[in-house]
């Protein structure tokens, strides 16, 4: 049944009346996603190609029964938009916006993860910010992923990088390997959902047979996820890490070095994945080959 998103998900779009918001929301609707409303303060009562606009997310959710929100508002208003979505009762929040200050991200990530409650109980799931969104091919797409590169299938994919996700999905699809759900979790230092949060969902999903995990330099989320996978996951996972040739990362004073030590390089991550029994492709094409082998 895919994870997080399917054809029954009802989505409101914050910032639907903007240029990017309307372009992608309508594209998402064309794909079959239930885009049931938009939110722009002061434009309540209008509509965008038949999609009703509301002044607040709370009203939009009350009127449409939405259980997900997709956020396209500019960076300076994005934190408020995430808080608003978090308090509206939706279960899934997807924030596409890039360029949000890290202090804002730290605050709303914490609020969504620990404080806000969805109408269905538990805390909502925030995907992003600064992410491409997610797609369950053949069912629904929310965000900016180009759906034509996807195929309906049984491989889950989770990635910190947007365009690299497309690249890997593309390679998979070209080999006839379809996807259950592809999630771009975003590459910012503070994100709502990390690799380790999604692995249990893929493991439990009856429509997923294998998972691709696409990492980047920085942080140690790949390492943490690898450990979890090695201990708990029965389905094959194929890894990829970009950035072997990346410029040396910004060094956050001595404090950064004290905290992260030598962790965070592509080399260290790839080694950590392999040490936990996860095969790592050296480029997107090889990742797709490894997935094909794992499924064979």
């Amino acid at each position: 049944m895919a994870i997080l998103l399917d054809e029954t998900t009802r989505v409101v779009v914050q910032g639907l009346t903007g240029r990017e918001g309307s372009f992608h929301a309508l594209r998402n609707r064309d794909y079959g996603t239930q885009i049931v409303g938009g939110v722009t303060p002061g434009k309540g009562g209008q509509d965008v190609e038949g999609i009703p606009i509301f002044d607040t997310v709370a009203t939009a959710v009350a009127e449409t029964g939405a259980d997900a929100s997709l956020i396209f508002v500019p960076a300076r208003f994005a934190a408020d938009a995430v808080f608003e979505a978090a308090d509206s009762g939706v279960s899934l929040i997807v924030c596409i916006t890039e360029g949000i200050p890290a202090h804002d991200e730290a605050g709303f990530s914490e609020y969504v993860r620990n404080v806000a409650r969805s109408a269905s109980g538990g805390h909502p799931v925030l995907i992003g910010p600064n992410c491409p969104g997610l797609i369950s091919p053949g069912k629904a797409n929310i965000g900016i992923m180009p759906p034509e590169i996807c195929r309906d299938g049984r491989v889950g994919l989770v990635s910190r990088s947007g365009t690299l996700t497309y690249q890997v999905v593309h390679e998979l699809s070209q080999r006839g390997i379809g996807q259950s759900t592809c999630v771009g979790i975003g590459g910012d230092p503070f994100i709502g959902t990390k690799f380790i949060d999604l692995m249990p969902r893929y493991e439990a999903d009856s429509e997923t047979d294998a998972v691709v995990m696409i990492g980047e330099i920085g942080g140690e989320e790949e390492e943490r996820a690898a450990e979890w996978i090695s201990k708990n996951m029965t389905k094959p996972v194929v890894g990829y890490v970009a950035g072997f040739e990346a410029p040396p990362g910004k060094k956050m004073g001595h404090a950064g070095a004290i905290v992260s030590g030598s962790k965070g390089t592509a080399q260290a991550k790839a080694e950590a994945l392999e040490a936990n029994g996860i095969r790592v492709g050296k480029n997107a094409a090889e990742v797709a080959e490894l997935v094909a082998e794992a499924l064979a």
Binding site: A75, E98, P101, E110, H170, A246, M252, A257, I258
Partner: protein, 384 residues
Amino acid sequence: MDLFEYQGKQLFAKAGIAVPEGRAATTPVEAELAAAELGGSVAVKAQVQVGGRGKAGGIQIAADPLEAKAHAEAILGMDIKGHTVRRVWIERATTNIAEEYYASFVLDRANGGYLGMCSAQGGVDIEAVAESDPTAISKVHIDPLLGIKPYHVRQMIYGAGLSDAAVKGASELLTKLFNAFVESDAELLEVNPLVLTEDGEVMALDAKVSLDENAIFRHPEYEELRDTFATDPQEMMAKEQRLNYIKLGGEVGVIGNGAGLVMSTLDVIAQAGGKAANFLDIGGGAQADVVAAGLDVIMSDENVRSVLINIFGGITRGDEVAKGITEAFSKIDVKVPVVVRLDGTNATEGRTVLAEFGDAGGRLISAETMLEAAAKAVELAKSS
């Protein structure tokens, strides 16, 4: 974005944190005047964003203005690990140091909040302390919704084992430091050494500050700070154009959308036997002019022998990128072959734009896949 010491100390001073009084100077005469204004003995400190300036002779004590002038003369223009000293900071010398500590606040991505650190072993290589005696550094997680509370400060101070005499002053300073950390949207505020003077005062003798560029909309004054950083001509040009560009020194120029895809592109260029000239991420939703500006910057890099444009459209649209490429070819002198690979949103429309534009005398080459594009670009770089 990292600040110079003098900028960091000015930020500290605004936040009410005790720092030695000082003046920035770009010439020996300015340094002399500054020393005269401050009176007494002063420290003349090279302003570079690299460690080890002390060992390199970039910090000198001057007893009087004339000596300050002489030190400034020696230090200005000095090369410290590849960084040219363009400015010195003249500050009143702190001569009554009783103890030297370390303190910092930093964004803590692993634990989703802020991290405060403090140590009684400051003024030294704190990374070595972290390595050899991790318990000498107190580390305190601060929830971003809660902010700093007195108990966090106590945990930092008592955890680090500062002297009783320092407790009150350090508490006040750390609280102000944290407030400055949040109010300035900093990624890092670090003080090493944080000193206790023989008079019982606690003050910041150094200031390492890293600010979040995404927060510039809240701090328009940061624009000015940003201008003083880049030294490389391409990086300078890229900053002016607001491009996310980093020079790498190879021969294959790179443009891509999304940090992950661009990093992956660098990797496949290396796998194909080449080396990228740069990292350039045009980001999501880039318009034609951004692509053109990027090509312009890359063309100004004399090492570049070929260019690889690798776009997988999402929020970025292939037709916009294609328009940018054709614009660049019309406006600027594209001296080297450009390999273009387009996929994703509006890629078909983009390929049509390029096909209609033609091959620009063999300088505009299309590729089907990322690996093929990398192989072609490396081959072209080697053969040109």
